[in-house]
């Protein structure tokens, strides 16, 4: 029983970063721009959170310092998001390559900056203040679900609320209608007076900012510092969650939770006596293998935005 509660709790802890990143990816991809740069945006967010929170701590901000890092992450990440936006929207470069370049640039430049800032260290100093789990009154005392759902980091609740907000924007506001139109059939949107490339540009920026919160979450909850391997592929898993979730905010949320579960399972299985004979590496592989398996079974009937990956040129019919 207790194990189920821990598994549930772990699922949400790991899922939080993926939820942010998947939502960021979704915002961008719904307008028709492939966002392979999620990994890079997460790296950039994780880096910024590690550095800014450390300096905030040094400045004596105490428990407020992780919040400083969390809020700084999207601002710094604008730099990388702008790169992807300029290359893929303004100059109509190949969106896949542009995203990959962002990833490489983000991981190498942040690694370099860490060395520069901290006298050649391979990671940012361990933070004394990271997010603490919030115990929601009364609910957190319930059996199983109390531990599982109501003793989580504040950012988890923020991620869930953000998913609801993005769902509302996507399907119940003029902005959402326009974003979806631009991703499905930019020619229609253009003739209806929607400025296609401007909207895409902004969506890449917004998506990058939201995704960076996922990176910041990793630094400020599970890790307490930022290093080269902090993110290690979670951006790609988040992209898989977007696809698995069929480009729908609630779908992506569910998919991110599923992949979070795979990671939580990894941790829990290592403790289980009966599974001791299985090498640890097998469990570490689990999230990635699951991602592949899920994609194999869902990609065939995927419902991607029709114009995903196609730069929009008004003259073309």
């Amino acid at each position: 029983m207790e194990m189920i509660a821990f598994l549930l709790n772990g699922t949400f802890v790991f899922a939080t970063a993926l939820i942010f990143a998947a939502l960021g990816g979704l915002i961008t991809e719904r307008t028709g721009v492939i966002n392979l740069g999620l990994e890079g945006f997460m790296v950039s967010g994780a880096f910024t959170a590690g550095v800014v929170s450390y300096y905030a701590e040094q400045a004596g901000l105490g428990a407020a310092s992780p919040w400083m890092g969390f809020l700084a992450a999207p601002i710094f990440t604008l730099l990388f998001a702008a790169l992807h936006a300029v290359a893929s929207v303004k100059f109509k470069a190949n969106q896949v390559i542009s995203g990959l370049v962002v990833n490489m640039l983000a991981s190498s430049s942040t690694f370099f900056l860490v060395k520069l800032l901290f006298d050649g260290a391979a990671e940012t100093p361990i933070l004394n203040h990271v997010f603490n789990k919030v115990y929601i009154p009364i609910l957190s005392d319930l059996p199983i679900v109390g531990e599982g759902l109501f003793r989580l980091y504040p950012v988890t609740y923020i991620a869930l609320i953000l998913a609801a907000i993005i769902y509302f924007i996507m399907f119940h506001t003029p902005l959402g209608l326009r974003m979806r139109a631009v991703g499905e059939h930019p020619g229609s949107a253009d003739t209806a007076g929607v400025r296609v490339n401007r909207l895409r540009f902004l969506a890449v920026l917004a998506g990058g900012m939201v995704a960076s919160l996922g990176g910041a979450t990793v630094t400020l909850t599970a890790n307490s510092s930022f290093a080269f391997h902090t993110i290690s592929g979670q951006g790609y898993i988040a992209l898989a969650a977007v696809i698995f979730g069929r480009w729908h905010p609630i779908g992506a949320l569910g998919a991110a939770i599923f992949f979070g579960f795979a990671q939580a399972l990894k941790d829990q299985m290592q403790i289980v006596e009966a599974a001791k004979f299985i090498p640890n590496e097998v469990f570490y592989l689990l999230p990635y293998v699951l991602t592949l398996v899920v994609l194999i079974f869902t990609s065939k009937r995927s419902s991607s935005p029709a114009a995903l990956g196609e730069p929009y040129e008004p003259g073309k019919r």
């Binding site: 119940h172 506001t173 959402g176 209608l177 007076g193």
Partner: protein
């Protein structure tokens, strides 16, 4: 003052160049309130360029645009929309997974607080729809409604934006005869309400039926403006191409011989896994042209692909004479004796960035004499291609130029030359004249008839009823993945065929 008209749109000396090429050369044109003005011209005559300038998609180099007595600079479509000009494009600008209402309000959404207010928009659309008899369902999804209704959504889109000058670019290209007559009815309704309409078209029949005046454009210049009720289709056609033309094709009666193609109970799916062919059967005999008539999307594409080996079938049998074609690969099918003029010449007919020579041998380069001992014989290929260019009247500066640089008609001629010169027993022609002008169309038709007369079987798939009626010897109507009727051009007319194409009439099976 009987000649006094209320002019809502006037173009004065409008000129547009693309590099050296003058697409529009000092065009003058006027549109009167409450009339339907047809803009007639061949492909590439400059009709669409002209209307794109009026709608603000292109900017003219010279000339003036006056709308309701006011001179305007059309920088963007929004200027045009603001002054009441709306355009229904040939390729609809609709978002398929959106509803009718969502498509119409896109770009000028109604809001209630932060929320999108679809309810009041839908009510307004319903009201306008009733007023103009557009018969729209505001909550239906675009991908679930007919092409005819999609077009009415386009019309509603511009009416909703308050347009009173409506421009239609080839509006009937995708419609059934019934839908066409409905559309012409809507035109009358619109003009009665004081709207003015410009129709870009090359279909003479519709001009005769619906337009008040007709402005003819040839090679970027206005040739003439005619009062429709005082003219004839023949006269219009001559103005359009600049010389005498035959509007029908001469041919003798078919002399069908042994069965060439035998298709029996075939089933096939489209890319998303839906059944598109549902137990379809028919035959094509040597020496006859069988026309498949039907509205786009009833399985024609899948049928052609199934026969030519590009799409697997789940059930059924396809045979050419005694040779099995069922689920063979495209090269086998082509070697067994099937020629294929594909529906999409850019996607399946040509490698656009290959030369005419390379495209000419695309299906036989691996055989002698084109290849000897594994080496391609370019001089033999060049010689042969030069003969094609001469025999098939391919207008090109040379055989070494890229296929991309030729006009649609000449590209199509390369394909036709290649397929016919391979001496197939069966020739499949899918939409062989799509986007071609009058001259090229009659060339293609003559070639198909010549193949028939040489004893080949010809399968013609076309959405153009006129083409089917003119060229085919026997007509099969396809609807919802099945053949629902069989007839001949002499026994039927376009109205009846239209009903069959819409699945509302079945006939002709008695003598199969």
């Amino acid at each position: 003052m009987a000649e006094q008209h209320d002019i809502v749109l006037q173009l004065k000396g409008l000129t547009k160049r693309f590099g050296e090429f003058v697409a529009n050369d000092h065009i003058d044109l006027e549109l009167r309130k409450g009339e339907v003005l047809a803009l007639l011209g061949e492909n590439g005559a400059g009709k669409s360029t002209l209307m794109n300038m009026v709608f603000g998609l292109y900017q003219p180099e010279e000339g003036e645009i006056w709308v309701k007595g006011q001179q305007l600079t059309m920088d963007t479509p929004s200027v045009a929309i603001e002054h009441g000009i709306g355009m229904v494009h040939q390729h609809f600008k609709l978002v398929p997974p959106f509803t009718v209402t969502e498509n119409i309000i896109l770009g000028m959404e109604t809001k209630k607080g932060l929320r999108l207010d679809k309810k009041s928009a839908a009510a307004r659309i319903q009201e306008l729809s009733d007023m103009y008899k557009l018969n729209l369902k505001p909550h239906a999804r675009i991908d679930s409604i007919s092409v005819g209704m999609q077009q009415r959504v386009e019309i509603m889109k511009i009416l909703y934006r308050g347009a009173d000058i409506l421009i239609f670019d080839e509006p009937t290209a995708v419609l059934t005869p019934q839908e066409i007559s409905e559309l012409l009815g809507i035109f009358r309704k619109l003009t009665k309400e004081g709207k003015s309409i410009i129709v870009i078209t090359h279909k003479l029949k519709e001009i005769m039926e619906a337009a008040d005046r007709c402005t003819v454009i040839r090679r970027g210049k206005v040739i003439d403006t005619l009062i429709v009720k005082d003219t004839t289709p023949q006269q219009l056609a001559e103005r359009m191409v600049g010389h005498n033309v035959k509007l029908t094709v001469d041919k003798e009666d078919a002399k069908p011989a042994e069965t060439m193609l035998h298709v029996q109970d075939i089933w096939a799916k489209d890319d998303s896994g839906h059944d598109m062919l549902k137990g379809l059967s028919f035959e094509v005999k040597a020496g006859e042209i069988v026309g498949i008539a039907g509205v786009d999307g009833n399985g024609q594409t899948e049928l052609v692909e199934a026969i030519s080996g590009m799409r697997p079938t789940q059930k059924g049998k396809i045979q050419l004479g005694s040779d099995e074609l069922t689920n063979r690969n495209p090269r086998d099918v082509s070697e067994i004796g099937v020629g294929h003029i594909p529906q999409d010449r850019h996607k399946h007919g040509l490698v656009l960035d290959f030369t005419i020579e390379e495209n000419s041998v695309l299906k036989s380069y691996f055989k002698s004499p084109w290849t000897k001992n594994g080496i391609i014989q370019s001089d033999i290929i060049k010689e042969e291609t030069e003969r094609y260019v001469k025999d098939y009247d391919i207008r090109t500066p040379g055989t070494g130029v890229l296929a991309r640089s030729l006009s649609g008609g000449n590209q199509q001629k390369i394909i036709i030359a290649r397929e016919i010169e391979r001496k197939p027993r069966l020739l499949i022609a899918a939409q062989p004249t799509r986007g071609l002008d009058v001259g090229a169309i009659s060339f293609v038709h003559k070639q198909l008839i010549a193949e028939r007369d040489a004893g080949k079987g010809v399968l013609l798939v076309s959405f153009e009823l006129e083409e089917i009626m003119n060229v085919a010897d026997r007509i099969l109507v396809i609807f919802n993945g099945q053949i629902v009727g069989e007839t001949t051009p002499k026994q039927t007319n376009e109205q009846e065929l239209g009903l069959m194409m819409a699945g509302k009439l079945e006939r002709g099976f008695a003598h199969v």
